[in-house]
């Protein structure tokens, strides 16, 4: 009699998990759509059935409980009288695409055909039999399921009701701006975007607004050789909303991908970024600044794969936490054997403003190439007393000094935004948060 002869707990747990998943998925109604989209949804459903829905005992969900993101009922979230979230980027000349509670609002949106870039809604592309998107929908998400399961992304592929499908072939003069508004206290928004930036082309993608009481978004982005994709996102300030987002990006040679997310409050945010550097000389920067006060759980999960030589990646994540807020960072740099001359950098830092806040981090390196430069750092602590003293000694009032130090702490993440005027917009928002929360 060996230990192996007895049914393992792990096998039993997995069987129970898959059974629960099957029951849950059985009840799902696939959205109406054309044939190819339906097929893609069914494939994602099969993936999901195979991997199972996540729970707290999964290693990848060690620090964040996925339950409220998954349960059939959406927990209602109060709509606060916050106009500024929807007002982000308002001064910018941009192509606006507006969703209200996850439903496209044609009246509020700009004319999609006018921009010199190909852009349609997923719902429309899915209704047509021959749209190019059918070759791509769900494919990066499927690839992103290895080596770690991302069931919420697969669930999104199954259930997404809409989204935008963008193809960029040249330099786009103004940013494409996705604006998520909300009206109902218990609405759910499930959107799935596809972005193809073709060779040499460039796009800036903006996302802002609270979205819904619960939201699940997936963006699949292909950045071709010598192309550039800039992504700047602000997640609205509704304290009770819950968000799961996945941004998958596959990069070609000499391409650039920069993504920045600002999160202020929200009951639960899980932002996953999954990046593949597949061509020589690519560059990927993923950054985030998060500020949490009170009931706030913010999780940045990043997975950067270096599959080609001579690429550079940076992960810069800063969190300011107070009144019991919880910050999570799970970051990984995977350097494959072929990816010599990789320059990988990762920093995650938390500033804990009081005794009740928490920072949980798992900054990982997995390296199979020998001629690489990879480093990561992670720190956590309170405001440096010496720095505070320095400012106080020069006559800066305590609150202002603290505010200054918080802003200085967050600055490194904001610097990852390439466009200075967008970075300035983000700094203004940070200023606002700091002055409101002092």
């Amino acid at each position: 009699m060996t230990a192996k002869a007895i049914l393992g707990h792990r096998a039993a747990r997995r069987a129970a998990k898959l059974e629960a998943t099957a029951v849950r998925l059985e009840a799902l109604q696939l959205p109406n759509s054309g044939q190819w989209l339906r097929r893609a949804r069914e494939m994602a459903l099969a993936r999901l059935n195979h991997m199972g829905l996540p729970d707290r005992r999964d290693e990848y969900w060690k620090f964040t409980d996925p339950n409220t993101l998954l349960q059939p009922e959406v927990l209602p979230a109060k709509i606060l009288d916050i106009t500024d979230a929807a007002m982000d980027f308002v001064a910018f000349d941009r192509l606006k695409i507006v969703f209200v509670d996850g439903v496209f609002d044609a009246d509020a949106s700009d004319d999609l055909s006018s921009e010199g870039l190909e852009i349609v809604r997923l719902a429309e592309a899915g209704a047509s039999d021959i749209h190019w998107a059918r070759e791509f929908y769900g494919t990066l998400e499927a690839e992103g399921q290895k080596p770690v399961d991302r069931p919420l992304a697969a669930l999104n592929t199954v259930l997404a009701t809409d989204g935008v499908v963008i193809r960029v072939t040249g330099k786009v003069s103004r940013p494409v701006s996705l604006i998520y508004l909300r009206r109902e206290t218990d609405a759910e928004m499930i959107l799935h975007h596809l972005v193809r930036v073709e060779e040499g082309a460039e796009l800036t993608l903006l996302e802002n607004g609270p979205g819904a009481a619960r939201l699940n978004t997936v963006t699949e982005a292909w950045v071709a050789d010598s192309a550039a994709l800039h992504h700047v996102r602000t997640q609205g300030r509704d304290h009770e909303r819950r968000a799961a987002t996945h941004f998958f990006a596959q990069l070609g040679a000499q391409s650039v991908f920069k993504s920045f997310t600002l999160t202020a409050n929200g009951a639960l945010s899980r932002n996953e970024s999954i990046v593949w550097l597949n061509g020589n000389g690519g560059s990927a920067h993923v950054a985030g600044a998060a500020m949490g006060d009170g009931k706030f759980h913010h999780d940045d999960t990043v997975f950067v794969t270096h599959a080609a030589p001579d690429c550079e990646s940076r992960q810069v994540f800063k969190k300011v936490l107070r009144n019991g807020a919880v910050g999570v960072f799970q970051g990984k740099i995977l350097v494959r054997r072929a990816a010599q001359l990789t320059d990988g950098y990762q920093i995650s830092q938390a500033l804990l403003l009081d005794e009740t806040s928490q920072f949980l981090a798992k900054p990982e390196l997995e390296i199979y190439a020998d001629d690489v430069k990879c480093s990561h750092g992670s720190t956590s602590g309170e405001i440096d007393a010496d720095q505070l003293f320095y400012l106080r000694a020069r006559g800066v009032p305590e609150e202002a000094a603290q505010g200054l130090l918080v802003l200085a702490f967050l600055a490194e993440a904001v610097e990852e935004i390439a466009h200075e005027d967008l970075a300035e917009e983000i700094r203004r928002k940070l200023d606002g948060w700091v002055s409101r929360h002092n």
Binding site: Q358, D370, H376, G381
Partner: protein, 506 residues
């Protein structure tokens, strides 16, 4: 050795000497010979009868037998951990012998003079003469260490063959003996502390060990006593298909100090052998324990055949205020290493340190690191880990730093560096950081640039380049411990520290 042959192009930043030293370590396993000696085996395989037999052979009291059986029954319900970055072939636990002792040890010799000369010769060949002599043979620079004496407990397969300097240690109240002896002679201490740091059901391998451990060392240092000499245990696996399951228990009572060293080797064989050890350390108020290991089990051949599977649970409990523990490990052997010497910093102002050098070559796999659990106020911990990976090896640092809500004003500093030699190997870092209060400061660095800036600045100011300066700084505190190793491979270990630093900057 293909990855490290002489034609290997040496990369910038990696010293040729580094490559050559690693090469010399890998190709020649010095301790791969075997002692021909008549052995007595328990029947192959594992069941309750074997557990009872081990207990009987060790002439244990009933409570100990029950303790073992409890562990065995629990173990049957458990599964091997699968979270480490290790590719472990299925282990058939029934294909191993769980008890093997030299026939000459059936009647335990009364003194070292009566021990089978073959056994004494074995240890002599390993550089561990079991004589109470002033100087250990084979240690370079031994002349300068005239007054350095080391008490040795020598474990051969399943039994302790002898412990030196016992009488002299007893004069200062220090108990140093095999664990089987301690179970018989000092049952109160064993009952009080055994399993109190690593509970019986802690993990699969610790539970297995609790059921079948055969011998190991026991140390008790009474209050206020500074142990007059280094204590060490030398583990030798000799018999084929035999697992070694040793159990070490160290208790440092209030205000005491002890430095403990551990060495291990095994013969070359084509089949794998199991080694599942548990080390428990209890550190009381103001006491300090230093625990150093040079792990040099047979790593398998160049094609990854054979070698020891090394699954070790080591944990120190700084149970009271200002207790201090320091782990130093040099991991060069074993086909598979699964080992996380940890510190529970329960007492206020207690501190834990972990210094590790892990070298993997050929097809070796190591998943090693530490856990620093900060529970008390003003607790301090420091982790310095150096991994060197060559050939087809995989080397992972896995660690946890946990600051509990009540561990106010605590501090951790972690630094992990990896060096890859050749493009077929891997080096990985998997740190977990959990901070649940704000007055504690946690820093994790995977670059060497932040090694004590003041010291670096000092060195740089005197004209050293950064790499030299870092090597000097890190070597400074590693050396202090490594120099204390009295084993004949102390020099080898020191060489390993030196090479692990070269080329690791930037």
């Amino acid at each position: 050795m293909s990855a490290l042959d002489n034609t290997l192009e040496v990369r910038e930043g990696v010293d040729r000497e580094t490559v050559e030293t690693v090469q010399s370590m890998a190709g020649k396993y010095k301790h791969g010979w075997e002692t021909e000696i008549e052995m007595e085996f328990a029947p192959k395989g594992l069941n309750e009868d074997i557990v009872r037999l081990i207990s009987e052979k060790n002439r244990e009291p009933e409570w100990m037998t029950e303790w073992r059986l409890g562990a065995f029954r629990r173990w049957l319900q458990m599964e091997e951990p699968d979270w480490a970055m290790l590719d472990i072939p299925a282990i058939d636990y029934q294909e191993q012998y769980y008890y093997a002792r030299p026939k000459s040890m059936i009647e335990k010799p009364k003194s070292l003079d009566e021990v089978d000369p073959k056994l004494l010769a074995t240890y002599k060949k390993l550089g561990i003469p079991l004589k109470e002599q002033m100087v250990l043979a084979g240690v370079e620079g031994a002349e300068e260490q005239q007054d350095r004496r080391v008490a040795v407990d020598a474990v051969f397969d399943s039994v302790s063959v002898g412990t030196t300097f016992q009488a002299e240690l007893a004069k200062s109240g220090v108990i140093f003996c095999s664990i089987s002896e301690a179970i018989r002679e000092h049952p109160d201490l064993v009952k009080k502390y055994l399993g109190s740091v690593v509970p019986v059901s802690d993990n699969f391998f610790a539970t297995l060990n609790s059921a079948v451990f055969t011998d190991g060392s026991f140390v008790y240092v009474p209050p206020g006593v500074r142990c007059p000499m280094e204590l060490s245990t030398y583990f030798r696996i000799n018999a084929e298909n035999t697992g070694q399951f040793e159990r070490t228990l160290i208790i440092a009572d209030k205000g005491s100090y002890v430095s403990y060293l551990e060495g291990c080797t095994a013969p070359k064989r084509d089949t794998i052998q199991l080694h599942a050890a548990v080390v428990e350390i209890v550190v009381l108020e103001d006491a300090e324990v230093k625990y150093s290991t040079v792990q040099n089990w047979y790593p398998g051949d160049e094609d990854g055949k054979g070698g020891i599977y090394n699954f070790v649970t080591k944990r120190a409990d700084c149970r009271e205020d200002r207790a201090k523990v320091m782990w130093t490990q040099v991991e060069t052997g074993s086909a598979i290493t699964w080992k996380y010497p940890s510190c529970i910093l329960r007492g206020d102002e207690s501190s834990g340190e972990f210094y590790s050098i892990a070298i993997t070559n050929n097809w070796q796999q190591a998943d090693t690191g530490t856990k620093m659990i900060h529970l008390g106020k003003n607790t301090r911990s420091r982790i310095v880990s150096k991994g060197i990976s060559a050939g087809h090896a995989q080397n992972t640092y896995r660690g946890l730093v946990s600051m509990h809500p009540k561990a106010l004003s605590s501090r951790n500093y972690t630094q992990c560096d990896s060096l890859l030699i050749g493009d077929q190997c891997g080096a990985h870092t998997v740190p977990y950081i959990e901070v649940k209060n704000s007055s504690s400061r946690v820093e994790h660095e995977a670059t060497t640039s932040k090694v004590d800036d003041d010291q670096l600045f000092y060195c740089r100011q005197r004209g050293m380049d950064e790499e030299e300066a870092v090597a000097l700084v890190v070597n400074g505190f590693c050396r202090e411990v490594l120099q204390a190793l009295p084993m004949e491979f102390a020099m080898e270990a020191q060489a390993l520290v030196a090479i692990s630093l070269e080329g690791s900057v930037g």
